[in-house]
Structures are given as structure tokens and as C-alpha cells.
């Protein structure tokens, strides 16, 4: 029997949880159809997490592509279908991959598996994003350099801890209703071992009494704990957090059954959510808003 799961019309880090709630009831090798025919919008988080979902399934799931032409076109130019073909059985009319340079996305979905991928991603952002971030988001050059640093560190998190490749995507949006400003969003997702198992692999440090996905996320993001004995490790995400705080941004990370967020004043998200449906690996989202007019 194939279980059909409807992908919400608008897919972001919150609505993706609806998908996971349904997936939780299906055995890992059970047949699944992700029905995105009526989906009209997806954030970088939504798109990268969908790929991760496909990657994590033992039995290849079927994916029904959106019917809306604009959505289809945007997802195609975001490279979604190019990589989705590797992890899903695609149904519906799927456009051919757009030629390089045609993408409207700041950084289309890009696989990250090794150090050289991070060089490519950071270089791409520097080439394409500087003008957009300076003009549209009114970020000063220092913030743009910091943005590339954060991008580098969150991508490295995949290489260092996931145990397998993941994806990254960067896009700007106009959050007129929610924030009244534009934002730039980085989303990174992998189907690897996740924060808890990664930190558990450290043999030099006993685990605390309370140890679960939430505790692991807190240790890694808030306290800069790393699985490595090297005292220099763990600075990447901690440094990213410092940058994000300085530019009034938001950082959220989901791993296993928990999600932690560094929440700025402009957002009403909760700092910690536990007992979520299990999802492998780690999903990190960084949101930097346009600089407010003074």
C-alpha cells in the first residue's frame, strides 16, 4: 500500500512539520507518495528538507510535482528537480534543468559533500550576492563578509558531522506581512547522523545526565561543544551565532526530534521545541533581515 502525503500549499520550516507528522506513521521501507501538486510556494528550507526526506527513505518515495507553472518553473530554476530525480520517483510534468546563469535564486540548491563544495558555494555567493545584499537588503560590506562566513560554517557542519552529503540553498524574500522588510535566508539540510549521535561519538567527554536531541542542539549551538578533542573545534556555529545576533538575524536548527532557535525581537518563534516527529540529520536555517531604516 502506498501512503499519500499532501505537501502543504506553502512549505516552510513550520509547515514541513505537517509532512513529517504523516511520514512518522510510515515504516522506513513503506511506500510513500509526496503529493505536491497543489503546492504553490516553498522556502529554501522546504526544498532542501524535501530532498533530505527523499534521501532518508529506504524505499524510494514517489514525488508528484506542483501543477502551478510558476511554482514548477521556480523549483526547476532552484535545481530542485535535478537533485530530486536522484532521491524520488518523479511524476507529473517536470521541466528540464535551467541553463546555468538563468536562476533567479541567490544560490540554487547545491550539494555539499566536501571542502571544495564549500569553496564553490562561498565563491558563488561572493560573486552574485554582494550587489543584491548591499542594494536590496542595505547590508554593509562587513555584514556581507560575515554572511559568507556563516554560510561556510553551516555548510561545513554537514561535512564534519553528517557522515554524508547534504544540500544548501540561499534566497532573498520580501517578508512584507511578517516583517515589513526583505530577508536573506540560508538553508542547509542533511540526512546524516544528527547532532546527538555526532556528539555521542566523542569518547573524551562523558555525556550529561539529561541527554537527548534538545540537549545536543543546545550543547552544539549555545555552548560550542564539539565531538572533537581539539579545543578549537565548535567555534564555527558559535561564531555564526555571534554574527547572526549582531545583524538581528535568526538561527534555527532541527535535529532528530528537537528544534532550537535563536529568536530575534521581530520573530515570535519559540526557542526550543521537543518531541517533534523524528527526522534524520540536521536542518539549519539562517535568516538575516534587511537593515531597518533609522
Amino acid at each position: 500500500m502506498t501512503t499519500v502525503i499532501k505537501v502543504p500549499p506553502s512549505l516552510d520550516e513550520n509547515t514541513f512539520e505537517q509532512v513529517l507528522e504523516h511520514v512518522a506513521g510510515i515504516p522506513e521501507d513503506g511506500k510513500m507518495l509526496l503529493d505536491a501538486r497543489h503546492t504553490e510556494w516553498a522556502s529554501p528550507y522546504g526544498l532542501t528538507a524535501l530532498l533530505t526526506l527523499g534521501q532518508a527513505r529506504r524505499t524510494r518515495a514517489t514525488f508528484a510535482a506542483p501543477e502551478n507553472d510558476k511554482t514548477l518553473s521556480y523549483w526547476s530554476r532552484s535545481n530542485f528537480f535535478y537533485y530530486a530525480a536522484d532521491v524520488f520517483e518523479l511524476t507529473g510534468v517536470v521541466p528540464k534543468r535551467a541553463a546555468a546563469g538563468e536562476s533567479p535564486v541567490l544560490l540554487p540548491i547545491t550539494p555539499v559533500a566536501g571542502s571544495e563544495d564549500v569553496h564553490q558555494v562561498v565563491g558563488h555567493i561572493q560573486d552574485r550576492a554582494q550587489q543584491i545584499m548591499a542594494k536590496e537588503l542595505k547590508l554593509d560590506p562587513k555584514a556581507i563578509v560575515g554572511f559568507a562566513m556563516v554560510l561556510s560554517e553551516v555548510c561545513q557542519n554537514i561535512i564534519e558531522h553528517a557522515g554524508q552529503g547534504g544540500w544548501v540553498m540561499v534566497q532573498t524574500y520580501n517578508w512584507q506581512q511578517r516583517l515589513g522588510r526583505r530577508v536573506v535566508v540560508i538553508s542547509v539540510s542533511d540526512a546524516g547522523v544528527g547532532f546527538r549521535k555526532s556528539l555521542e561519538s566523542a569518547t573524551h567527554r562523558p555525556l550529561p545526565d539529561r541527554w537527548d536531541d534538545a540537549a545536543a542542539l543546545e550543547a552544539a549551538l549555545i555552548r560550542g561543544v564539539s565531538r572533537f578533542r581539539d579545543p578549537g573545534r565548535g567555534q564555527g556555529l558559535a561564531g555564526a551565532r555571534k554574527y547572526i545576533g549582531r545583524w538581528d538575524g535568526k538561527l534555527s536548527a532541527r535535529s532528530g526530534t528537537a528544534r532550537i532557535a535563536i529568536v530575534p525581537d521581530w520573530d515570535n518563534d519559540v526557542p526550543l521545541v521537543e518531541q517533534l516527529p523524528y527526522f534524520p540529520g540536521a536542518q539549519i536555517q539562517v535568516t538575516i533581515p534587511e537593515r531597518a531604516q533609522r
Binding site: S115, E116, V118, H119, V122, G123, Q126, P141, K142, V145, G146, A148, M149, S152, E153, Q156, I159, E160, P231, G232, R233, Q235, G236, A238, G239, A240, K242, Y243
Partner: protein
């Protein structure tokens, strides 16, 4: 002996077909540090070495790379007791965020060369900073100017100068302390 190491050149030599001038990722940092160490190996065998690490052709450096290159270079040379001094040139605001973070993490300081002359940045005690400012203003300070057990203030200055020397932030030559960059 003075070495000049252009990090941009080392980066391009380390990464084949690298079109960018970004010091990012830990493996890249480790490879670049390895290149620096091998460049320094010969000169260190002859005794004291002063190395100018030039950031002029580096667009950005991330936290991981700063840790691998700067922190580990300073810590490894310090732990080996080598008389190895570093001056960092061409460091801009764009590099500073990552570098400051790793210096704070490890309690390190380094000498930077600016248009206005050499400065020390990072984690320093108040006494070390005062001693550095005095040394920079005077150009050189004789050990004999601060004989041990003379008075408390003299002892503090002497200890601070000795501490800066042990951290290879200043040099000692012929019973004189001198700022590192002054001999570059």
C-alpha cells in the same frame, strides 16, 4: 632571518584550480598551515625566525580556517619553544571577526602591521598592554632598566615584558627588548 608568506599564493598552491581567494574550511586551513610549516622548517633550523604572514590577497577567512592557520600556528610554535615570531600584514576588518574569535577562544595575541606601525591585538593583560605601549614608544628597552626585586612596579613591567617575550610578541636581543615588527 625574515620570511614573507603571501597567504593568497599559498592558498592557490594548496587548492588546485581554486578560482577564489577565500580561506574557508578546516581542511583548507590545515593544508595552508602545513605549507607554512614546511616553508619555515629550514629557517627555524638556523635559530630565530621572523615571518610576515600577508593577508593582502585573501578576501575572507572563516572561523575554522582562522583556527587551523593562526591559532594552531601560534600555539604549536609556542609549545615547541621555538624562537619564531610572526607579524600579520594586510589584515582588514573583513578578516578580523574570525581571527578575533579564535584569539579569544585560545587566549592568544598576535602582532599586526598597520599603516601606523605594529600593534598587538588579542588577549592581553593590562600589564602586558602597558608594557607593549611603553616599548613601542621607546623603541627598545634594556633589561637593566628593570632590575629584579627593585620595587613592585618595576617587577610588574619586567614580568610583563618577559611574558610578552615568552609569547613571542616582542623580541629580546643583546639584553634589550624590541617590538617584533621593528626588526621586520
Amino acid at each position: 632571518m625574515t620570511n614573507h608568506i603571501d597567504l593568497g599564493t599559498v592558498l592557490r598552491r594548496t587548492l588546485s584550480a581554486n578560482l577564489y581567494s577565500n580561506l574557508v574550511t578546516r581542511p583548507t586551513g590545515a593544508a595552508v598551515r602545513g605549507q607554512i610549516e614546511s616553508l619555515l622548517a629550514d629557517t627555524l633550523a638556523t635559530g630565530r625566525a621572523l615571518t610576515v604572514i600577508d593577508f593582502s590577497h585573501v578576501q575572507m577567512i572563516d572561523f575554522s580556517c582562522a583556527d587551523e592557520i593562526i591559532a594552531k600556528l601560534l600555539m604549536s610554535h609556542g609549545a615547541q619553544g621555538l624562537e619564531s615570531y610572526f607579524v600579520f600584514r594586510g589584515m582588514t576588518e573583513d578578516h578580523w571577526d574570525a581571527i578575533e574569535t579564535v584569539l579569544e577562544r585560545h587566549g592568544l595575541a598576535l602582532v599586526v602591521e598597520r599603516d601606523t606601525g605594529v600593534e598587538i591585538v588579542g588577549v592581553l593583560t593590562t600589564q602586558e598592554r602597558s608594557a607593549w605601549n611603553m616599548l613601542k614608544a621607546r623603541g627598545k628597552v634594556a633589561l637593566a632598566d628593570f632590575p629584579p626585586d627593585t620595587d613592585e612596579e618595576s617587577d610588574l613591567v619586567r614580568d610583563a615584558l618577559e611574558g610578552l617575550f615568552r609569547r613571542r610578541l616582542i623580541m629580546r636581543a643583546n639584553d634589550m627588548y624590541v617590538p617584533v615588527g621593528e626588526l621586520a
